[in-house]
């Protein structure tokens, strides 16, 4: 199966510079439905689903490969090469911001610019580092994931009845936008919330924009500031918008910030 089919790639826009949009934990490429169209006039927009999310090929999921964010970064590299992306723009939300950082490190030729929306190199607090989550909180989160007590109540029935292999029964009814295989979602959460990619920030050569939301329980302002501080070449945009998904709650403000960053001359 081609990379395009495997990742449910949707391309739009012109034949100009490639602009790759990557979604975070919880949703699929629909996350960019209010933002990506704004760039179609100048860019070749590329939207895709991570394996396990949206319309991706679930059969391609490999427990070991996706146990850490590296596997997802490898996918991005493979996908972009498959689509002949060079010197493009990578726009990553949430955990995909760091996936973009890793992909850029693996294949620097792919992206000239990285737009990191609500990024976090490490969610867990550490000595002298505020990640936003204490260890008990992360453990509580992972435990809830494991016990299936949170989330779509309709998903509980198939879990109890043992037909979890047909999650579409419940998912289709309630949710046509944020589809994710429950088992893969759990593993993705684990890979996300236990990751520590702080050291990778220094290796990024591309221009970066850090977009920080005003009130974000998942990626607090301290974290955005940390990312900005540790990147070699980055701009920092603090939005008025609140919440972890300004691309949905405040698309105009988000678009403006990205557009402004892309308008600035390289190195400026």
């Amino acid at each position: 199966m081609s990379v395009v089919r495997r990742h449910n790639v949707k391309q739009g826009g012109t034949s100009g510079t490639a602009m790759v949009f990557a979604h975070g934990f919880g949703c699929d490429q629909n996350m960019w439905r209010f933002v990506a169209p704004a760039f179609e006039d100048r860019y070749r927009t590329i939207l895709f689903d991570h394996i396990g999310a949206g319309g991706s090929d679930l059969a391609a999921y490999d427990v070991e490969r996706y146990a850490t964010l590296d596997g997802y970064a490898d996918d991005v590299v493979e996908l972009c090469r498959g689509l002949s992306v060079t010197g493009g723009v990578f726009v990553g939300h949430s955990v995909s911001a760091m996936i973009g950082v890793l992909a850029a490190k693996k294949a620097p030729e792919l992206f000239a610019s990285l737009v990191l929306v609500c990024p976090s190199p490490r969610y867990l607090d550490d000595d002298g580092y505020v990640g936003g989550f204490t260890r008990p909180q992360v453990e509580e989160l992972l435990e809830f994931l494991d016990t299936n007590h949170m989330g779509w109540s309709q998903a509980m029935a198939p879990t109890i009845m043992g037909n979890a292999d047909r999650p579409e029964l419940s998912e289709e009814l309630t949710n046509s936008f944020c589809r994710m295989d429950p088992d893969i979602a759990k593993r993705f959460a684990r890979a996300t919330f236990l990751a520590d990619n702080r050291a990778d920030l220094a290796d990024v050569k591309a221009r970066c924009l850090v977009i920080q939301s005003s009130e974000d329980v998942i990626a607090p302002q301290e974290v955005g500031a940390y990312v900005h501080r540790h990147l070699a070449d980055s701009a920092f945009a603090l939005l008025d918008a609140t919440g972890h998904c300004p691309n949905l709650s405040a698309p105009a403000e988000t678009i403006a910030a990205i557009a402004e960053f892309l308008r600035e001359p390289s190195g400026g």
Partner: protein
């Protein structure tokens, strides 16, 4: 309006309204009560502020985006955090209310208490988890069980295949259902030759009945005592097997141990034992020979010197009578001696007979003089009352000689040997064997010899144990004593004091009864019998004996004709034996011999009496006397005359 207000505030579900920026603008009393917050403290906060950490993450990553994209979400399971930090499981519905231009007016949030539902879900998940664990455990158990069953089956198959014994499973009728490979190895049959066939078809015809009996009993009781019978080999020969088995669930399980070789070994052992007994006897005979020769020479010396005196013409009558008596007595003693020797050396089937120990002991005691030599004084202490035992006489005598020889050697040829019979004894505990009840004849031989060292006492009955020099003894003597005693239901005890002497005591169980042997003595009470001129045909190959017999018979009143062998005798007798009144023939002669002659005459001339003479009872012991009159050599003129007088009809005067 007041009614609606009440409905809003006190409905059984929580209500909250949020502004487009996500901040709560209004909550009802129900929700505030659930969370234990004053309503005022909730207003102004974001909805996700009411959630636990996992709920916050889920809300931000899943439900908030959905609400933005599709305008609602239904039945999301979340935990709200109460004022005291405890959580309240809830189901949350949310819907975006928009104005005419499509702008968001507010978000309506409805919250249901899901405590019970969450608990059920929890229990059901737990039940499912347990069921899954049980399924896994059951599967593992089954796999494990299968593996163990397979292991066990392999082990059983191996035991079945490797068993050197015949193993078989048969139905209750004896039809073979399964056989192991030993059948091929031992009997040459393939399993296909056997399965489906009746075991009886392979059983030796003579063993069929015992086999049927054994198999019919097996259904009620396991066959533990091996039942032995023969099976036919593929080559037609028969092999012996000792069978054990059991009957379970309608099938017979049997094991057959091959015993043909054991039987062959047992037979070989029996032959070896017989040969050993014979050699033991020969050993004893050999021991006797020297003494007998010496004794015989003594006797012959008496006879010779007596005869020399008798030849003197001037011998006074009283001296003549004394010498004549001396010769006669000496001959008697010599005859007795040879008789005992012959009886002793006689090859006969070993069989116990009832005999009087005292009589036998006296007989042997006389003979022992010749064994032990002149410097050993033999003393007999034998009570008169009869003492019967059941044992092999020949073995008994051999045992006595063996013990006597042993005593002689212990005394270095000089001393006293005491034979004692105690016929009211019992069997004491000997060598760890407990004492036995009942009366035993105790025959003891006590010597005044060197004794036996204590460390050797326990070994003297071992075969081939000997303290004698090479060539002086086989070491079989005392082991024969021991074997004889044990086989006869008795025992032998040895008491020895080094330097003082040794006593061997032979214990034999006494029985009530009469001796089965015939009295050996005959009395010469009648007057000297004489013939009346009847004609005797003497058949004798030995010149001296023939001459002597001729003279005796003529001296006592018979006429004689002498034939040197049986063939010549037949010639002289002619067709009807006319002129002869009786035939007196030696048994052992070259040619047809006396017995064959007697048989011919018995057939041809039934009225002509035949008297046989033999010095060697072996021949007649083998063939039987065939009802012929017999006189044992050496015979006296008196004996011969008496027998002929009885046989030969008187001449009609």
């Amino acid at each position: 309006m007041e009614d609606l207000e009440d409905l809003f505030e006190n409905a059984p579900c929580g209500y909250a309204s949020a502004l487009p920026n996500g901040r709560i603008s209004k909550v009802n009393h129900t929700l505030a009560t659930w969370l234990d917050y004053p309503a005022g403290q909730i207003v102004g906060r974001r909805f996700l502020d009411l959630l636990n950490i996992a709920g916050k993450v889920y809300y931000e990553t899943h439900f908030a985006p959905l609400l933005r994209m599709q305008g609602f979400f239904y039945e999301v399971a979340l935990d709200l955090v109460r004022a005291d930090g405890t959580t309240l499981p809830v189901l949350v519905n949310a819907v975006v209310r928009k104005d005419a231009t499509g702008g968001v007016r507010f978000i309506r949030i409805t919250i249901f208490n899901a405590s019970d539902r969450r608990r059920y879900e929890h229990e059901m998940l737990e039940a499912r988890r347990i069921a899954e664990a049980a399924t896994v455990a059951l599967r593992d158990l089954n796999l494990n069980l299968e593996a163990r069953v397979a292991d066990r089956a392999r082990a059983l198959e191996r035991a079945w295949r490797l068993s050197p014994d015949l193993l078989a499973i048969a139905d209750a009728q004896g039809t073979l259902l399964a056989v192991n490979g030993a059948w091929t190895d031992l009997l040459g049959w393939q399993a296909s030759d056997l399965v489906g066939q009746s075991l009886a078809g392979f059983t030796h015809p003579d063993d069929l009945e015992p086999t049927r009996t054994a198999l019919s009993c097996i259904t009620t009781e396991p066959l533990i005592e091996p039942s032995e019978y023969r099976l036919r080999h593929a080559d037609g020969s028969f092999r012996r097997f000792a069978w054990t088995g059991a009957f379970e669930e309608g099938q017979i399980y049997v094991t057959g141990r091959h015993t043909t070789v054991e039987h062959e070994q047992a037979a070989a052992l029996a032959r070896a034992e017989e040969a050993l007994r014979q050699s033991q006897k020969l050993e004893a005979v050999g021991q006797l020979t020297g003494g007998v020769a010496h004794d015989f020479n003594n006797l012959l010396t008496i006879i010779r010197s007596s005869v020399d005196f008798l030849r003197r013409p001037d011998l006074p009558e009283d001296r003549r009578v004394r010498y004549m008596d001396a010769v006669s007595d000496t001959v008697d003693r010599a005859a007795k001696l040879t008789g005992q020797l012959l009886a002793f050396a006689r090859r006969q089937v070993l069989k116990p007979t009832v005999f009087n120990v005292g009589d036998r002991l006296r007989g042997v005691a006389d003979m022992l003089d010749t064994v032990t030599g002149a410097r050993i004084h033999v003393v007999s202490e034998i009570p008169d009352e009869p003492c019967f035992v059941m044992a092999d006489v020949s073995q008994f005598e051999t045992a006595l000689v063996n013990m006597a020889v042993n005593a002689r050697d212990a005394m270095n040829g000089a001393g006293t040997l005491t034979l004692r019979l105690d016929n009211a004894g019992n069997l004491p505990a000997i060598r760890g064997h407990s004492a036995a009840p009942g009366r035993f004849a105790c025959v003891s031989l006590t010597d005044t010899g060197s004794g036996i060292a204590p460390d050797q006492v326990s070994r003297i009955f071992e075969p081939f144990f000997t303290t004698k020099e090479v060539g002086k003894g086989t070491g079989l003597g005392l082991s024969q004593v021991f074997g004889f005693a044990k086989q006869s239901g008795g025992d032998v005890e040895v008491e020895s004091e080094p330097g003082r002497g040794t006593t061997f005591t032979l214990y034999l169980p006494m029985i009530d009864g009469e001796a089965s042997e015939l009295p050996a003595t005959t009395r010469d009470s009648e007057g000297f019998p004489t013939g009346e001129g009847q004609c005797v045909l003497i058949v004798e190959d030995n010149l001296e004996v023939g001459r002597f017999a001729t003279q005796i018979l003529e001296d006592i009143g018979y006429r004689t004709t002498w034939a040197a062998n049986a063939e010549e005798a037949l010639e002289k007798l002619g067709a009807d034996g006319a002129g002869f009144d009786v035939v007196f023939s030696d048994v052992v002669m070259p040619g047809m011999g006396g017995l064959a002659l007697a048989k011919i005459l018995q057939r041809r001339m039934p009225d002509l009496p035949v008297l046989l003479a033999s010095g060697y009872s072996h021949v007649l012991a083998q063939d039987g006397q065939h009802d012929f009159e017999l006189v044992h050599k050496p015979y006296s003129a008196h004996q011969l005359g008496r027998i002929l007088g009885r046989m030969v009809p008187r001449r009609r005067t």
